[in-house]
Amino acid sequence: MKQVTSNTTTPVAEPKKEVKSLSGAEALILSLLEEEVEHIFGYPGGAIMPVYDALYDYNDRVEHILVRHEQGGIHAAQGYARSSGRVGVVFATSGPGATNLITGLADALIDSTPLVCITGQVYAHLLGTDAFQEADVISITAPVTKWNYQVTNADEIPEVLAKAFYIAKSGRPGPVLIDITKNAQLQKFDFAGCKRCDHIRSYRPKPLVRKEYIEQAAELINKAEKPFVIWGQGVILGSAEQEFKAFIEKAGIPAAWTIMGAGALPSDHNQNVGMLGMHGNYGPNVLTNECDVLIAIGMRFDDRVTGRLDKYAKQAKVIHLDIDPSEIDKNVKTTVPVWGDCKETLPMLTQLVEQKRHEAWLQKFKDYYQQEVDAVIREELFPTSDGMTMGEVIQQLNEITGGEAIVVTDVGQHQMVACRYAKLNHTRSNITSGGLGTMGFALPAAIGAKVGAPARTVVAVIGDGGFQMTLQEMGTIMQSNIDVKILILNNQFLGMVRQWQELFHDRRYSFVNIQSPDYVQVAKGYGISGQKVSEREGLKAGLQEMLSHKGSYLLEVMVTRENNVFPMVPQGCSVSEIRLQ
């Protein structure tokens, strides 16, 4: 039954290369090296010991980072992939090791992050016997992986690994899991060299670009009086930031981003009109329902972006550029679908659109922004009241970093505030759990982000709730000496849930009152310096200390307890019903 069809891969090595007898585990490591893997995030265990044994001999060529929990490992690999654009690699053992990856796999799938996870599995002859640390990992991970495969025979390893990397990074990227039984890791086989995979018969990573649709799209754009571009992570995943910028600049179209697209265009670009969605900016939300042509680029119309669908951009013609054909017409009906890699389709479109400036239309966004400044932003960033706001912390951070840092965020109020206000000069600078909304994501993801982009400053902005979900990864920071700036915005609440309870559940604050340990003491236990700032006077100095400190640093900032994030599109409402308070 099983086949990894031989027409999918071609040997890289010259045909006469001598055949060596190798263990499956060693072939696995060589295959990783062939894919130019330099970092692995992992945690050993019984069923993956042969792989770790093989890794021992290649310590000089690949760096393994020992995490404290497999979930931390996979989030770190996600952060790595997001900051570097490479495939993140994870090792975990069978059973609980593998099941601990599930949250990260689901997160990586919904946020299109390329990962290859290698899990150990019990001996093939024990499969299905409820053996020690056996779990049906292939079935469990099927809904949360782009592809998965169980290896029971060592000679499959070179081909399967090549296929895994190809699938993870091509087309719309995603996580791949390879489950390798212990006997296959130990088994010796004739290793004829690594393979490369550049083609799988049943798999089209890129759809055909249809010229007539490009022409139709260009025609719509050229006739439009109020065109509006909304972009997502597709621009970053496709490394199409320059192509994107060229397109919007030539066509003179205002552009807004989804949370996953943040940073693809610098924050201070004149045509960058802000963030979309539930806690996005006022103008982009309201004007979505006023534009005449809506050009969606590498985004998937998530419900947090669209609000109520039957009242979303009904007046507009919709052009949707996406690499994944199943996204076209999934949530929003498209007038013109532009299937393809936006790195290819955007330049084609740019060529056909007329040079224009939609000054009055762009001004409208700026007018709305001014209203938002008056109603929300000024008080959030430069508060006149006593307590510190999350916004002012991010504002102070911007002033010190100048927008050069990678900002990794967790999930909740602080995430919305950080994504709204963080200044981002470069692409791959915003790393957050967008689709799945995984609390506990930020600390491990920041570790991976730093490993993936060692030259950059990485600031992990985390709430007091999320930090307590994965704070054990400070052990990884300690052991692997990774420089991550941890900025805890502590409002002593599970703030976003509390906000919803306040607004929609009559202030019945049910189990959102969360206590914190003394974070500075906890960090100290891990050898990480830190301080707690409770008064505005100490904020700037605290941030400066954190950023100039050599090595990791934890800064806990006590912010107002009951601040709400606004603007807000309440659930079930149209984007034009966005509330400023």
Binding site: K2, Q3, Y149, Q150, P205, P207, L208, R210, D329
Partner: protein, 202 residues
């Protein structure tokens, strides 16, 4: 709203061409279960091409839902292509087996006539029971159950539906087109570009 949905909903035949891979059945099945859609019938078999498997899946849904489902199925790495068709667009058959006491048939001429009228064929005759077989649409195989019930029907089983698409001109040619096109090749000037329906969109 639900009554409107009810009108739009009908039987759709989903035909999926796939590689033959362990676990793929699960990957396809969970696309339905995730959306709480019941699979009315599912058949897997070899296709006209060696090494390529064919799924026939029947669901009762709106076209909108079926179209999205097919998009999700095609996204699976080992799926080559998924089509959906209404019952009018396909030729379909189901097969049923009926086990009846032999003595009843031997004694009652009426039963023999009913079996003949319903196009049933004998598969096995034993002293104690006889097994009949019919193929046809659901109503036909259902009808024979009703007919045989008063005569002591012992056992009944019906197969999944298999369906041939009326308008298809075979997957063979498409597969060859599919294989010859390298994924990294420049396809903008592709000869199939303007032939819409004929173009592979994966």
């Amino acid at each position: 709203m639900s009554s409107q949905n009810h009108i739009e909903r009908q039987e759709y035949n989903i035909t999926v061409y796939t590689e033959n891979q362990i676990g793929l059945l699960n990957r396809i099945a969970i696309i339905f279960s995730r959306r709480k859609i019941n699979i009315e019938s599912l058949n897997t078999s070899p296709s006209e091409i060696e090494g390529i498997h064919r799924f026939n899946i029947v669901i009762h849904e709106t076209e909108e839902v079926v179209r999205k489902i097919c998009g999700q199925i095609e996204k699976q790495v080992e799926v080559l292509k998924a089509y959906y068709n209404t019952n009018e667009d396909v030729i379909w058959q189901e097969m049923a087996l009926y086990k009846v006491p032999t003595e009843v048939i031997a004694e009652k001429a009426l039963v023999e006539r009913l079996l003949r009228e319903n196009g049933a064929r004998v598969v096995v005759i034993r002293k104690d029971y006889t097994v009949f077989e019919t193929t046809g649409h659901r109503e036909e195989t259902d009808n024979l159950i009703k007919v045989l019930q008063p005569f002591g029907l012992i056992e009944f089983v019906r197969s999944a539906r298999i369906a041939i698409i009326k308008a298809s001109d075979g997957f063979n040619r498409k597969l060859r087109e599919f294989e010859k096109r390298e994924p990294h090749q420049e396809v903008v000037e592709n000869e199939y570009l303007n032939s819409r329906d004929k173009v592979f969109t994966m």
